[in-house]
């Protein structure tokens, strides 16, 4: 039976939220998609590199092109996309409290709520980390690829994971010099292809190395790095001074769980996927049956997995609202799960797969 006309409300128009809204709309369900930004796409529009993964998952296509495709589809379907709309609260009975254009506040009763709020970059504190010139890698990436301004000329990248090496490469494409990429662990963290590209460009990679401090008066003028031992303690005498004006931090992301807390979703701790996050089942339903969590909020992974998780939630919500028959829901859900499983293979995928399995197991125990 169809519920009383209340729409499914999707918060966050990144890859996860866009896909959820697309599935709902395709099924004929009323859906409202909200995002605080002036443009939809989430993190996708910063990604100017070719994506990794299988062909089916748009590997070889640049992130912003995937964003454009999703956007075109959502426009074609005529989804009610509300931009510059920040969701600031969830009240009991699934009342979504939104603020439009920082001036108009209203609430909307949701039949189902899909949270696709993404993740927030981690900070790292060391003496001098508040100086102008220290910023997250994502901040630098937004500046160069979206706004097309270069925040500095000589950069130290802290963190050798995918975000670190990709942004290092993109900073070079934008005209900056990358002095070094440092990594606290004894081995590099990113996909080989991306790391190799940065290496070939002549950038020094230092493992078992940390940043001791940033120096400068009104901004970064120097960074002091040092080797660390197996207990992550700096080794005296190994300090090295780098002449840089920018220090980028690529030290991981944490799911943006605030709204899921307000919606009463049970939270669990999964370090491999970014820390605290809402528990969920294999339809991406949280402990609150009417609230779904998809994409980086449900464990930091990739745009490709975020899209499939968004579809899972969209399909299930459309079915639960009475807009999809059992058979279609089952078939499409199984196809989507197979694609998700295919994405969680390989050295990096395996770890995420195991973590996701653990989340599902925790959910069953609850």
């Amino acid at each position: 039976m169809r519920n009383d006309g209340k729409p499914a409300v999707v918060v966050g128009a990144g890859p996860a939220g866009l896909c959820a809204a697309i599935e709902l709309k395709k099924a004929g369900a009323p859906v409202v998609l909200m995002d605080e930004n002036a443009k939809p796409g989430g993190q996708l529009f910063k990604q100017i590199h070719k994506f990794f993964g299988s062909r089916e998952h748009k590997a070889g296509i640049r992130g912003f092109d995937i964003g454009k495709e999703l956007l075109a589809e959502s426009l074609r379907l005529g989804i009610d996309v509300r931009l510059k709309t920040e969701v600031v609260g969830i009240e009991s009975g699934l009342k979504v409290w939104a603020v439009e254009d920082r001036s108009k506040s209203y609430t909307l009763d949701a039949g189902k709520l899909i949270l696709a709020t993404g993740a927030t970059e981690n900070a790292l504190s060391f003496p001098g980390w508040t100086l102008p010139g220290v910023m997250t890698a994502g901040c630098a990436q937004t500046l160069i690829n979206v706004h097309r301004v270069l925040p500095g000329k000589k950069v130290l990248m802290v963190g050798s994971g995918n975000v670190g090496v990709i942004v290092a490469y993109q900073l070079m494409q934008a005209g900056a010099r990358v002095a070094a990429v440092i990594e606290a662990l004894p081995r590099l963290g990113g996909y080989g292809v991306h790391t190799a590209k940065v290496r070939r460009a002549g950038v020094a990679f230092h493992c078992s190395t940390t940043i001791l401090r940033a120096e400068g008066k009104e901004g970064v003028e120097k960074a002091v790095i040092a080797k660390i031992d197996e207990k992550f303690r700096p080794i005296p005498g190994t300090e090295q001074i780098l002449d840089v004006d920018t220090i980028c931090l690529a030290v991981g992301l944490t799911p943006s769980i605030e709204l899921s807390c307000l919606a009463g979703c049970r939270q669990i701790y999964v370090p491999e996927l970014g820390g605290n996050m809402p528990a969920h089942d294999d339809y991406m339903r949280s402990s609150n049956e009417s609230v779904y969590v998809v994409g980086d909020i449900a464990g930091v992974e990739e745009a490709s997995t975020a899209m499939e998780e968004g579809r899972l939630a969209g399909l299930h919500a459309a079915w639960a609202m009475g807009y999809m028959d059992d058979q279609t829901m089952k078939t499409r859900t199984n196809e989507t799960r197979e694609r998700l499983q295919a994405l969680r293979q390989g050295v990096f995928g395996q770890k995420r797969f195991a973590a996701k399995e653990r989340i599902l197991a925790m959910r069953k125990d609850a």
Binding site: A123, E218, E221
Partner: protein
């Protein structure tokens, strides 16, 4: 290092993104001085393009600029048209906009707020 003139510039040409699309130019005022900005960009981008490195000073006088670039951290707040605490990384420029560094939490000018609304 001079706080006003330092590294920072527009990326006119780009191997993947191509040439910078032509955008309408606007004038904003940073600390009273006119500065060119592009329609649709956030205040942060216009300031970075102009080489401004210090966006504000804390109560204790320590300098700050942007940190997250997407509205999460509030490091980049400035006084905009008399209203302090405006996140410049997510606030679009407007013709004639007055942007000032703030000390600490800044001064609330109620009239300016009324004009703004």
């Amino acid at each position: 290092m001079n706080a006003e003139k330092s590294p920072g510039s527009r990326i006119a040409k780009h191997a993947v993104l191509g040439d910078m699309p032509v955008q309408k130019e606007l004038t904003i005022y940073f600390e009273g001085k006119p500065l060119k900005a592009l329609e649709g960009e956030p205040i942060m981008a216009a300031l970075v393009a102009a080489g401004v490195t210090v966006f504000r000073y804390t109560k204790k006088g320590s300098p700050r600029r942007m940190f997250c670039g997407i509205g999460r951290c509030t490091d980049c707040v400035m006084t905009v048209d008399g209203v302090p605490g405006v996140r410049t990384c997510v606030t679009e420029v407007r013709e004639g906009m007055r942007v000032e560094r703030q000390q600490g939490v800044g001064n609330w000018n109620i009239q300016a707020e009324a004009d703004h609304a």
